[in-house]
């Protein structure tokens, strides 16, 4: 780890932001405060943080249904995020999007996506724009192991490959698409093997090791910025919760869950930081407390925010047309 202390602590902070935010979200969901579906990112924090630590503000990401972690890692504000989960007017999408559609285009976050695989071709398009505009921005496309069997995986990566677009495709292989384990949805063990099909680099890393993720993505981002085209990076990880909050998870053995929890990314990273004497325990504790505080503020912000006015429902369909309202 030749990285700067600041950077390492920042990575730690971001992972904790995700961890504490998501833990709180599961509670709030259970209390009935958050409508709709929630797909928790708990356990996968190292992927988003290791990846986004390589990105500038003007770089883009496309996210997924399991997107809270990506948003936080790319710089999303907890207040606006929590408010959006509540469906409040102050949320990122004014309450119109919810968990599955949070976005902040100004931060380069081109949206969570409720369609599995929805991001691949959008990411290729953003990369294409950067290329035509001769900017050095990079687009990261997050996707799951399950999404690697979607139409868009194939067409999006092929297009990025044949046009040498500055895109990094980041697979969060958490071994399941809802209830279906990887060996039941594809014959291959490593999703990164599919890079061969597009003549691009494919790498698999321990997705619970934030530094390993960081290093792998760094290479891929460099390639992309240099105009050498896309890469496919697979991060092996595991979701601690069910597919969505409320999932009985009858499809995976308890031991498996326990084994993976033992390998969870934040404890590991924390230990490493202390062992390598990057910092003192109390520095980390201070971060933990700050983040916890921040999350509570976000909850308060969300709770105290108003619902959108019903008239909002017909706004924002078009930039210039308002659709008819009830006669």
């Amino acid at each position: 780890m030749e990285m700067e202390k600041d950077m390492l602590l920042n990575m730690y902070r971001k992972m904790q932001e995700i961890r504490i935010f998501e833990t709180r979200v599961t509670e709030l969901f259970a209390e009935g405060k958050i409508p709709g579906f929630v797909h928790s990112y708990l356990g996968e924090e190292a992927v988003a943080v290791g990846t986004c630590s390589n990105l500038k503000n003007t770089d883009y990401i496309t996210s997924t249904h399991r997107g809270h972690g990506h948003l936080i890692a790319k710089g999303g504000q907890l207040n606006e995020m929590m408010a959006e989960l509540y469906g409040k007017a102050t949320g990122y999408c004014k309450g119109k999007g919810g968990s599955m559609h949070i976005a902040d285009v100004d931060l380069g976050i081109l949206g969570a996506n409720g369609i599995v695989g929805g991001g691949f071709t959008i990411a290729a398009g953003a990369g294409l724009a950067s290329k035509i505009q001769k900017k050095d921005d990079v687009t990261v496309c997050f996707f799951g192991d399950g999404a690697s069997n979607q139409t868009t995986f194939h067409e999006g990566i092929n297009l990025a490959s044949v046009w040498d677009l500055p895109v990094v495709f980041v697979c969060e292989n958490n071994m399941y698409g809802i209830s279906l384990s990887q060996e039941k949805h594809q014959k291959i063990k490593d999703v990164s093997d599919r890079a061969v099909a597009y003549g691009i680099p494919g790498v698999t890393v321990d997705g619970n090791d934030v530094v390993a993720v960081y290093e792998a993505i760094k290479e891929a981002v460099k390639r992309a910025r240099n105009g050498e085209g896309p890469s496919l990076i697979e991060c092996k990880t595991y979701r601690h919760r069910g597919h969505f909050e409320g999932d009985p998870t009858n499809y995976r053995p308890d031991e498996e869950v326990q084994q993976w929890k033992a390998k969870e990314p934040i404890g590991r990273f924390r230990k490493k930081l202390l062992e390598m004497e990057v910092c003192e325990e109390n520095e980390l504790k201070a971060i933990d407390e700050e983040v916890a505080d921040q999350v509570e503020k976000a909850v308060k912000f969300a709770e105290e925010s108003p619902d959108p006015a019903v008239e909002e429902a017909v706004q924002d369909v078009y930039t210039d047309m308002i659709e008819e309202v009830w006669s």
Partner: protein
Amino acid sequence: MAKMTCAEAIREALRQEMERDDRVFILGEDVGQFGGCFGVTGDLFSQYGEERVRDTPISETAIVGAAVGAAAVGMRPVAELMFNDFVTVSMDQVVNQAAKMRYMFGGKATVPMTLRMPYGGGISAAAQHSQSLEAWMTHVPGVKVVMPSTPEDYAGLLITSIRDENPVMFFENKVLYGMEGEVPETIEPLPFGKARIHREGDDVTVVALGGMVPQAMAAAEALAGDGISVEVLDPRTLVPLDVEAIKASVAKTNRLVVVHEAVKRSGFGAEIAAIVADECFDDLDAPIKRVGALNVPIPFNPILEQYVVPNADRIAKAIREIV
């Protein structure tokens, strides 16, 4: 008769057809051990095993395409899409393959497949998981379109769908899944193209589709207090459509309101209104009203969502405008 929910009725129909005909099999995402995203396939996996209740990769294109291929060579696949919104990923397989194969091949292929698709809002699932897309399918010659509203009709019409020699788009309403009703122990097929009159009335005909039937009934009930007599007609299948029943009802009431959860613009309500505006012109005493969702994507916030999607109040309001 047994009391069951719409979801259970669908499962029973699947079970009875799988029992009766070993060409019938199920494929879709998480339909196996998990029992389906809305629990519809439930225990069928433990009863019939993974050969006949097949968990697929997240590949809607392959799910529908494989159903087409299997049907064309003699099987009777029942494919499930987790949400009808994902048919966007398999439109080609529905529209250019399943629907047209028989015709393009000069009548020499049969494609007896059923595609089950949950539709509609009401669960804060937002814009990509709450649509009602039946109208698209009615614009595709070669498929039949079924949209029931009671447990009995779900069961009976699903049996008919599976036995039908043609591709059938079977629309299931998420909110209705939990609604209970009586279903015969041995489910008999119900005919396509036969409307059900849920309530007779003299002043106005309300044609309501799928999930809007209970809302129309509630509106009718509310208006009865004011002496307005509402006939509620559920076409049950959109293709074929029981035009005669609609005409007969309008001939009696001289007024028509059409209701669906899909966005109003170019919804199937337009087709029904257009048929009546042509074929029943002389019977009509008032403008034809349509009630559908506002022409916007479905918003996440439940208050906004309720504002966008039709309900009994809106239906009552539309009725009052013309009686």
